[in-house]
Symmetry: C2
Subunit: 191 residues, 2 copies
DNA sequence: CAGTTTGTTCAAATTTTGCTGAACAGATGT
DNA sequence: ACATCTGTTCAGCAAAATTTGAACAAACTG
């Protein structure tokens, strides 16, 4: 008969009691990250690491989340690339160990900097180019066509201004100066 | 021989000169919206409408972007649902006409309110639940297990605080009070 | 140096997503 | 009531993304 009091490390069925809660939290973060444009596993892996007091190996992670080692390798690599996870090593151990970067605020800033900022900038450039082409195309025209191109030109300049504002907004967030400190309780972290 | 001076409405090849620029701008917005989690066509359609001085029909749109009427109907419906596009009608015309909501700022706020806010809220709830379960599970434990659960509990409370901060941040954006007005030139719009 | 252990890359298979044409439904005019 | 025009929904197809097992590569052990 199966010993009901087995503490933790049974092969299959008897996960520690808290494992379910941990997975729920990881899934929530996974949804967040997926929505946010990353692989869903990145959020799940990061959360498991973030909740673990000890660095973990790929084998640990692969077992906890029931993922193939390739999937773990891929998503973990991307997390490392984004600076969300760091490799560490243990004397005497050959495996790589991973631990979560715990300053979420810092992570957010990095993502906005490397991703959103570029994206908006590209869009703004496209709007600017289009505007310029319209500007050239409208010279010498009159009547209905001219009215239409003037309208388009004005609208494009509006889009341009908006992207510039967005760029600045994100820039301020990245620089950490966007938030009125009085509005939020501390978002600083222990790290 | 083909009359070179045909004004605009040729069947196929001779698009107006400015069409290319318009499409480039639409594509930029499409990329932005796709990245942002919407269908890419939503951004493209909206831009075409935004740049047009006159309301347009589905046929116009479908022809401009070379999309099937079903694709137009689908994405346009979603745009209407998000309040990014409005239907209008012309006396004597049976078709529906569409025009873009031109206050981009208002749109952004609506999206954040209806989407991001819910998303973060759900994540926060999940973190809270997990935290509570851990809290219950750790009672009466000692030693290694207790330490681990205490750690998890503390980390979950951190995630909880962060989501709360995020919720508040987005809330302020939605309420229009997040931005330090001195930091940005006017984001107000003509409407 | 041969044999392990560990991590990464690759191609095939599966799943998911997006798009289309056709069927359908609603409305309008004859 | 019928015919026509317009917009929406749906089943099937095509393209894209994810996932996996296996091959490969690298680092270490004895």
């Amino acid at each position: 008969m199966p010993s009901a009091a087995a503490k933790q490390e049974d092969p299959n069925d008897s996960q520690p009691l808290w494992r379910e809660a941990e997975l729920r939290a990881a899934d929530a973060m996974g949804r967040l990250m997926e929505f946010w444009g990353f692989r869903r596993h990145m959020g799940r892996l990061w959360t498991i690491l973030y909740l673990s007091p000890e660095p973990m190996t790929t084998a640990d992670l692969s077992e906890t989340l029931q993922l193939s080692s390739s999937a773990v390798s891929l998503s973990l690599g991307e997390l490392v690339h984004w600076g969300a996870v760091r490799k560490t090593w243990r004397p005497g151990e050959r495996k790589d160990f991973y631990q979560a970067e715990s300053s979420v605020w810092k992570l957010l800033r990095r993502v906005y900097e490397r991703r959103e900022l570029n994206l908006i900038r590209e869009a703004r450039e496209a709007f600017g180019d289009a505007q310029q082409h319209i500007d050239e195309a409208r010279r010498g025209l009159g009547g209905e066509d001219r009215r239409r191109l003037d309208y388009m030109h004005q609208r494009l300049s509006r889009l341009n201004a908006l992207s510039k504002a967005g760029e600045r907004l994100v820039g301020l967030l990245v620089a950490g100066r966007m938030i009125n400190p009085a509005d939020l309780q501390s978002v600083e972290e222990e790290e």
